[in-house]
Symmetry: C2
Subunit: 540 residues, 2 copies
């Protein structure tokens, strides 16, 4: 272990030449953590509770409320202190599915795989009707449909004729040695390229026709609802019965009543489309019931702590976090019950070892991540600083680092520095005892799309680990198949062990984790831009 | 082309040394066939009609009846003669799904992926109930459940805890050169090993405990139905939303009324199981309606002909065939709309070229294949000979060869000789003009599980082509995902072209295709054995 550690500490990242000293840590404590995490893991028990037992956890839904209460109770049972279900701000309407049934009834009967789109409405009970294609790219295109769509089941045209993917390509993969070496060799970002990514940076915003068509979809859906269609049907991504469901109608408190709308598996959707295009009379039946909840428009994060044992450092913080919310089909297993279960397990491991961290270690399980990192952004604004004015709150100086996990069920292969070169030698040392478990790589690179960015945006050290991709992008991420079945026990066990060690090491370190320069304030965007309730794009 | 042909003709099969002469054929005619088949293919149009338009084609169902009428009309429209929907014998009750809805309602709502098991009954309208595990391997085990299961949703225990497959393995593959070389080098079967496989040979029949448990399932289902359970739920094979549905309850005319019974996707099933085992209260709702049809217990094959143009040879026959029936989920695209569409296309190609085959070329689209090659066996018994007595009917001497396609959407890589070594040099020559399309391999091997076996069993030359496997065994074969999307246009086009050439060459050949020795008569098995209506195992 010692040898590994020395080797690792002398291995510089690519062209970066930080002034590094030997980073020391309590190897015996880390060994204790490793023993507990690898030999007495309870991560799959927690994962079972977070998936099968609690079900989907869409932000604002009763399902998430119940899950938050369950996990808060679990935190208390684990002996965590200051457990809170803490509001972070207004999210919008809650919503859930009470019934979902769709079937083709002519030219023959077949039950179809479809899920109500988030924040969509109900059918008028059990309804039947003809399937029709609506072609419209702008409001004038809709004129010809006025008064003609009552009770119809509406689909849109598509150039796609067959739904099958590449059958010669495996769904899943792990990082190769070559890929990891490439990441390790990545150069630091050039100055001026930003402080390591900010929420909303780099999103596609105006790619002409396709984007205009996408932007028109909500208006189109509103028109169709007002015409009293039976059901609006969108083609979902995915094949083989896997259906990716994400995004949704507006959840804003003043949003108009949405029509009934589903996302349907590619195979089922394209069959409808091919049949209607061929001139066949196609009929469907559906019975969809959804409920909206407006009593409490707030959303919450769940937090809990192992209080710091050091009289001085105890007031300082190490944070672990993962988003706890999911989309509404499947049970959000890899996105992100996996990360949540790993963070709960990391806390359990530390507790079980009997180690007494000097700094306080706080876990936060976020909500609203899928709608734009909302829970973590709200928390960071409430506790540390707002990106709008960059006025630092007292806690800003107290946080050492925030560690995040949100890239599925794959084990940890290393860590992204988010451009924070000074943290490199530290993390490289800390990974050394886990090199044999495949965790070797420190990259200067950023990664985006999850909650460490909320910290990074206000100049706080926030890190996401490098994980093996597995079948996250091809099969599980936001899909109806993101269930307990997709969780890899060995991978999650490894991840929880490494994160427990990182958290403990961070809590014991003489200094806090080095920081990058503070970013400049970014006044809020104009109203109606990305980030307004109900219009924020989906994030993972 | 000539060079290929000579090369091919001198390339002997493994250790077999047949006395072969140069097999001549009309290369110009074959070129015409290739041009029509490869450049003006209509195979996907036919496949669309056989899948999307006609839907599932379970033997005995109204869906198959309608599809048979449609395809007979298509045969007539193509100019085929003597088109008939020809009864082959008693099949049993017809059955179809009128409605299928299942959902979990507690601990939270989620619609589930499930299909009624073939020939299963209806729920008592829309029903709700608690999910319970029944553990029983024999009748005495059932005592403790008497009077306790009314309205319950019954699942069985399983050792499996997670449903995911191997995510690092691609669903699909093609035959490698090495595999084809291995097939080409296969030795002839030793004398006494049978005449090339017989229907029913080699099936597992008594593997102790596992088989006993399987055999007990129908009795168990009967008990559960009699106790008035709400729904019986079986775990289906398959992952990712793919659900393999096959086999079924008894279709016999005197079979007792079956209870409502579904096969459910692994992920959904195992979630129910994990939850119930954990002590959670799990509830479901379901609304399943199925219909039985007893007015006509016969089943039918659809046949049509291009009459032979030669005054003498015109009374002789070449047959092409594929089974037209499917299981009841998906639309039986690769099993076997693919083979049916290819055979229809082969007939169309011959018609379109204007060639006048000397022998009659007859297409047969079978039913009852999935229940044990019943349609082709019935046809062979009615037209050629019964395996029971091997008394040859006059047509037996008239058939040159039967060609079959039933291994999915993959292109043709060669042909199985079924132990008929004398046919090897002929087929090797005929494949030569298609070597560049990947069809190169002649193997002495048998292949089983489909309708050429019905011919082989009475000493008639029946052949199945070697096809690329694609994702047939992993994804499509008997699954809810066996839809039009899985059909590969290029592969089917190639297959139809090659089969059209084989059919034409067979019709023109001076002699009929050589035959193996006639097999001995095999008196019928004792009543209740494999093959009795309702108890025959599923075949592909």
């Amino acid at each position: 272990m010692k040898k590994n550690l020395l080797f690792s500490a002398f291995f510089a990242i690519g062209a970066v030449s930080p002034l590094f000293a030997q980073e020391s840590f309590d190897a015996a404590a880390v060994q204790k953590i490793r023993d507990e995490g690898m030999n007495r893991s309870k991560v799959m028990e927690t994962a079972f509770t977070l998936t099968d037992v609690t079900g989907p956890r869409l932000s604002g839904s009763p399902g998430l409320r119940k899950a938050q209460e369950q996990v808060a109770a679990q935190m208390k049972a684990m002996g965590l202190q200051n457990v809170k279900i803490e509001p972070w701000g207004e999210f919008g309407k809650g919503w859930q599915i009470d019934k979902s049934y769709t079937a083709m009834t002519a030219p023959y009967y077949d039950a179809l795989i479809a899920y109500p789109k988030a924040w969509s409405g109900s059918t008028k009970g059990a309804v039947k009707g003809e399937v029709v294609i609506v072609k419209a790219d702008s409001l004038p295109d809709l004129e010809k449909y006025k008064g003609k769509l009552k009770g119809k089941f509406v689909i849109y045209d598509s150039q796609t004729t067959q739904a099958a993917g590449d059958i010669f390509q495996a769904d899943g993969s792990r990082n190769t040695d070559a890929r990891l070496a490439e990441m390790a060799a990545t150069q630091p970002v050039t100055p001026g390229a930003g402080p390591g990514g900010r929420p909303g940076a780099g999103r596609p915003g105006g790619r002409g026709g396709a984007f205009a068509a996408m932007a028109f979809r909500p208006k189109l859906a509103e028109f169709l609802a007002s015409e009293g269609v039976g059901l609006i049907i969108n083609m979902g991504r995915g094949t083989d019965g896997t259906l990716f469901t994400s995004n949704g109608n507006s959840r804003a408190k003043d949003a108009p009543k949405a029509g009934p709308e589903v996302e349907m598996s590619g195979e089922d959707y394209l069959r409808l489309l091919r049949l209607v295009k061929s001139g066949a009379k196609v009929e469907m039946e559906a019975d969809i019931k959804t409920s909206f909840y407006t009593k409490d428009l707030q959303e919450y994060n769940v937090v809990g702590e192992i209080p710091g044992s050091d009289p001085t450092l105890g007031s300082e913080l190490v944070m672990l976090g993962a988003h706890f919310d999911s989309w509404h089909s499947g049970t959000g297993a890899t996105d992100n019950a996996a990360g949540s279960a790993v963070m709960m397990e990391a806390m359990r491991i530390i507790q079980a070892t009997g180690l007494k961290p000097k700094r306080t270690i706080r876990i936060a399980l976020w909500s609203g991540e899928e709608q734009g990192l909302l829970g973590s952004r709200g928390y960071v604004t409430n506790h540390f600083a707002s990106t709008a004015d960059m006025v630092l709150k007292p806690e800003h100086s107290k946080l050492s680092a925030y560690y995040n996990l949100d890239n599925g069920t794959g084990k940890i292969r290393g860590v992204y520095l988010q451009g924070n070169a000074a943290a490199g030698p530290i993390f490289r040392s800390w990974l050394a005892p886990f090199n044999d478990l495949g965790a070797t790589t420190v990259t200067i690179s950023n990664t985006g799309g999850t909650d460490h960015q909320s910290y990074d945006a206000v100049g706080l050290p926030g890190f996401q680990f490098i994980q093996d991709g597995m079948d996250y992008n091809t099969r599980t991420h936001h899909s109806n198949q993101d269930t307990y079945d997709r969780l890899s026990a060995d991978d999650l066990k490894q991840a929880a062990t490494i994160i427990a060690a990182f958290a403990y090491n961070t809590s014991q370190r003489t200094e806090k984790i080095p920081r990058k320069a503070l970013p400049a304030a970014r006044p809020p965007q104009t109203p109606g831009g990305a980030g307004a309730a109900g219009t924020a794009p989906a994030r993972n």
